[in-house]
Symmetry: C2
Subunit: 355 residues, 2 copies
């Protein structure tokens, strides 16, 4: 760890590979295609660990990420964000390298897409299952039919099926409620698939969220799973009970730059531009991360939980317990479990360290 000079994302390869393996096996057992979301790690190295598990389809959330992975040889990429027609040139370049599928969250982009796209690509209809983020409502059959009719005029566009992100499963009161919510939500997608299967063949339901994919033992009634966060998990998932401490695969290593004995607080180099400003509440106060102690082969959880209690652009303020305060020195590095691993990994994608 002597090599670490600035805030760095430490990835524990054995934990991470194990998270990947568990999810890949669950997909195989459920007879479901595994299309992991690579926005969580944005790492070619982690990508290789997926390849080792037989994965050859991925999802990403931007065309920039799509090119990054396409250039590394990934040949089946879903750009899991509503198609941004201003990037049509970049999309055309991508289709020269890989099989690409895009998302329609409305029919507005179709005319210009049809006019400017060059090679064949697949498209999914994005279904909004209740988060009101984006997509078609599950019962808006007419709108979906209109969109499909419009798309039919373009022979290069192939309708693949329905895609959803069950964002509502991220803030459940208890993980026990997830299987029931999953079942109810999947039913809506099943009905859509059944309805449109009369006209289109081989439609699939592509489902993506870490909570349900982690909690369920079997992915019944879907065809493809697209979880992303499970690769590292994070404080948000730990708090909600979706993962346990042993599954956390990435922590931020932050150099300690100051200590204040009067308040048992340390200041670390590790702020909002590294961890992000995402927080969760613990003991009634916001926390921008949770402390672990680093060693050369990993990290361990302290007896009592301690948190990043304030955050600025570059500074993090950590409140320590008495004994822990005196066990660390300025110049040491301390580990921080990020609240939302996807954001933290995005900020630190050029500062990775694999152990």
């Amino acid at each position: 760890m002597d090599k670490i000079k600035t805030p760095t994302l430490i990835v524990n390869s054995s934990i991470c590979r194990n998270n990947i393996k568990i999810m890949a096996e669950k997909c195989r057992k459920s007879n479901v295609e595994f299309r992991p979301h690579f926005k969580t790690h944005q790492s070619l190295e982690v990508g290789k660990w997926f390849k080792d598990e037989g994965v050859n389809k991925i999802a990403v959330s931007s065309l920039e990420m799509a090119h990054f992975f396409a250039d590394d040889g990934w040949k089946d990429i879903m750009v899991a964000f509503p198609i941004n027609i201003r990037e049509i040139e970049s999309l055309n370049k991508l289709t020269e390298k890989s099989n690409v599928s895009i998302l329609l969250a409305g029919n507005e982009p179709l005319p210009i897409l049809t006019k400017k796209m060059k090679k064949e690509m697949g498209f999914f209809i994005k279904i909004d299952v209740g988060t009101k983020r984006c997509g078609f409502e599950p019962d808006s059959i007419v709108k979906i039919e209109e969109t499909l009719e419009l798309a039919k005029m373009n022979k290069k566009l192939k309708f693949m099926g329905f895609v959803t992100h069950a964002g509502n499963l991220y803030n459940v009161k208890s993980v026990e409620s997830i299987p029931d919510k999953y079942k109810k939500t999947v039913k809506k997608l099943q009905e859509l698939k059944k309805y449109f299967d009369r006209t289109y063949s081989d439609l699939i339901i592509s489902w993506g969220d870490t909570p349900s994919c982690s909690v369920l033992d079997n992915f019944y009634d879907i065809d493809e799973a697209r979880p992303g966060n499970f690769v590292y998990y994070d404080l948000m998932q730990l708090k909600s009970g979706v993962c346990n401490k042993e599954s956390i695969a990435a922590v931020v290593a932050a150099p300690i730059v100051a200590k204040y004995v009067d308040r048992y607080e340390i200041v670390v180099y590790g702020g909002a531009v590294h961890l992000s400003k995402e927080y969760v509440n613990f003991e009634g106060q916001p926390a921008w991360g949770m402390v672990v102690f680093l060693s050369n082969n990993g990290w361990k959880f302290p007896d009592k939980q301690m948190y990043v209690r304030n955050i600025y652009q570059e500074h993090g303020i950590i409140k320590l317990e008495y004994d822990d305060f005196f066990s660390v020195e300025v110049g040491d590095i301390i580990g921080i479990i990020p609240v939302h691993a996807c954001l933290t990994a995005s900020h630190l994608k050029n500062n990775y360290y694999y152990i």
Copy 2:
């Protein structure tokens, strides 16, 4: 604006140059050195506009930024973050390019600094004026004296004075209270300077925060001003009354990727990895940005304020008024005033567009 494909920070050069000019003139009038904090913009172009106003000293918040500007010819750089001794090699390289001053927020780094530093550098004692972020308490004379004695053993280290960041001025209830708070806080620094002036010569008080530097007409009793945010201002400063709409110099251009008429909401490509997750409350609800309408030579504020009401990794959800909803199309770009320009500019530093 046709060139804009992905979330981009649009900088209005005339507004930005005017913000710089006003602050530079205020410093000249007050006979105070102007050492702007470049962490807000991280742009060589904006740096040139400061040079045009006669600025030759800057502050940055990381060694990476320091090298970035040193390589562009900046010769007097304060690294305004507690010295991180793990980066001593990078610091030594920096002193080969520029005059460097560092911050001591405690005495712990001194032994290793003394052992490993190569060229002369200045140092400031960081004073904590109440935010409990980092630095010495203003009344901790003994601790400061001990630190200075320790530093004296290193002939390459020159004591420059006291530096503070009045973070408590960022959340005042009304800007009218700022001058009085400024006065009280500066008095503490004046007392320190007076006390240590007996032993050291040419000590300065370096003061940095946008609220006081914007609101005050004259910077009495300080020697150097280090504001940063004023170069662009942002929604936080607008809300608190520190700036007005006409002073906002940077907005995020975000492509519209979906529209939902049932809720008058649009989805934009512009999320937490572009704007950051920093928010302020408006009308009792969090806002991750405020809407402006872009034109080729700038932007205008709508009659009624509208906000980014939800944010994800790449998506922003904006609630529009009826007429405004129907005036925009999927594929258009919309402007968003960021909540905290420093974070947004840090995320988008490679996606700038100057008008």
